[in-house]
Amino acid sequence: MADITALQPAATAADAPRGAAGRSYWATVGERLRRDRLTVAVGGVVLAIVALAVFAPWVATHDPLDGSVLRRLQPIGTPGYFLGTDETGRDIWSRLVYGGRLSLFCGMTPVLLATAFGGVLGLVAGIGGRLLNSLVMRVVDVFYAFPSVLLAIAICGVIGAGIANTILSLTVVFIPPIVRVTESLTRQVKSRDFVEAARASAAPMHAIIRHQVVPNVLGGILVYATSLVGISIILSAGLSFLGLGVTPPDPEWGLMLNALRQSIFVSPIVAALPGVAIVVTSLCFNLLADGLRSAMDIKLPT
């Protein structure tokens, strides 16, 4: 045992698989992604939507909060208001691009936060002993017992409306599934030969986690988180739609949809527009997740 350790210093043993296999794997993934035209196009659309939201002040043609009863519910194609106006005469196009800021923010932040917290918890549960594992996983099981929409609405309903509360409740909703996926990916990696080899060569635990486990579970978590963004955007818009998320008069897609719902008899097409923005965005994130998954050749645990 002693001379094996001497022959293979811990650090090199831990570093070797990452250096050799890691680069070629990501090169392959990049190559596959470049060849997948649908995913490239979808990625472009996502970037465009994010850019529209970020550069809203330059893209918008009007102030998103500036309304006038004189020009309420103008149809699509009105000069100066090419996507029409809403029930208080505010420009729909400007509200859609500004609305993208809040909708994307409220949709993506919970996934980012939940991935950070849930990822760490799942990693700990996957690596830790039996007691730690069942402690974390049983708590996760309890939260899993609530349908996600129900849990988000209940939490928001109790703590009140608002952007911060929306993000908090959706983060709580997304942590359990991320913990489950991370835990199961971690346990799969833990049973692989190269982890056994690293352990046999006396690599310290933190080095094994950093060099063997994390790089090998990160791809799966990334793909899974991307697929959650589409759901999260729909859920956060849904909370605003119920009056539990973003509060008026701020522009947000779900809120706009609810306000325009009263006008479906007057201008049905304009009333459906905010939903189109939600559908396109969430569809793109779902397709992006699919593209990444097949490029990385990952099979996620269910």
């Binding site: 129900l150 209940a154 459906a272 559908v279």
Partner: protein
């Protein structure tokens, strides 16, 4: 099998205990004092103190929890602070109305999902597969509250074919074509997500099974393609069942947005009203009952899975 059933039952009881803890905790998540929602800020201290001891808020938390749990286990979910009526009774009626749309939506969604998923997998890589996959992922990306609005715009506003909202008549179980018409749009809307989830699941599971050796062996044996499809689908059943159980639970608890659009008097709307009236006993009771339903559905699914597939019995 008996050991498996016992283990699953024990697990379910533990989960239900956790669920009750979370539902109980809801009332204490309100910023400030739970009594603030009942009383105006200028209420005299004597009234506040009297109500506090009446509701038991002055006792230690675990005593409050145990007495609440005792009541709940006897089927008493308390009374609504807004209407003063019994939560259990009102909730059961709302749950019935939700089942009227959730069950047909589940049947439709699962049926379509299985058919589309299988059709896509058996035609892997062909145009049929691509078309179906595109439709299925679209179904998953559409917010159902928006789809509900679009369907209302098309079928109720533009073409005037179907009613836009409500249950029609007295509600309850539909007995005539006229009241059945109210069901069509909500059921269609609700079936989209289960269709998408089950469709994707069936497609990927069938593809995986087709990669095994036994379908080839069956073909070599000279079995008719129709019989091979049967064998493959039978093997795809357990994971699909698990997903269907989850989806049925989501349909019960997640239809709140769709019920809002269609003004459907089910538990979603019941809960929505409770939120805006800050009626915590109603909210707590609804969350508890829906989550328990969800847990029990999953228990049944697990047991059925074990019945079909001995490998699940671990």
């Amino acid at each position: 099998m008996a050991r498996f059933v016992a283990a699953r039952l024990l697990h379910t009881v533990l989960i239900l205990f956790g669920v009750s803890l979370v539902a109980f905790a809801l009332i204490h998540m309100i910023p400030g004092n739970p009594l603030d929602i009942l009383l105006p800020p200028e209420a005299p201290k004597s009234v506040v103190d009297r109500l506090r001891s009446e509701f038991g808020f002055d006792r230690p938390l675990y005593i409050q929890y145990l007495s609440w749990l005792g009541r709940v286990l006897r089927g008493n979910l308390g009374t609504s602070v807004f209407t003063g009526r019994e939560v259990t009774h009102e909730l059961l009626r709302a749950l019935g109305n939700t089942l009227v749309i959730a069950v047909p939506a589940a049947v439709l969604g699962f049926g379509l999902g299985i058919a589309l998923g299988a059709a896509a997998a058996f035609n892997y890589g062909k145009a049929t597969d691509r078309l179906i996959s595109a439709f299925v992922i679209l179904g998953l990306s559409v917010p159902h509250f928006w789809l509900a609005i679009v369907l209302v715009i098309l079928f109720a506003v533009e073409w005037n074919l179907l009613p836009a909202e409500g249950m029609g008549g007295t509600g309850g179980f539909p007995t005539s074509w006229d009241s059945l018409r109210y069901l069509i749009l909500p059921v269609l809307t609700l079936s989209m997500i289960p269709m998408g989830v089950v469709g994707r699941m069936v497609r990927s599971t069938v593809l995986e099974i087709l990669g095994n050796e036994f379908p080839t062996a069956l073909r070599a044996k000279g079995l008719m393609p129709r019989r091979i499809v049967f064998h493959v689908l039978k093997n795809a059943a357990p994971p699909t069942l698990a997903v269907m159980g989850l989806q049925l639970g989501y349909l019960l608890g997640g239809s709140i947005l769709v019920e809002t659009v269609f003004n459907w008097p089910g538990c979603g709307q019941f809960m929505n009203l409770a939120i805006f009236r800050r009626d915590i006993p109603v909210l707590q009771g609804t969350v508890l009952v829906l989550a328990s339903f969800f847990v029990l559905i999953n228990l049944v699914v697990d047991l059925v899975q074990a019945l079909i597939d001995p490998r699940m019995r671990r």
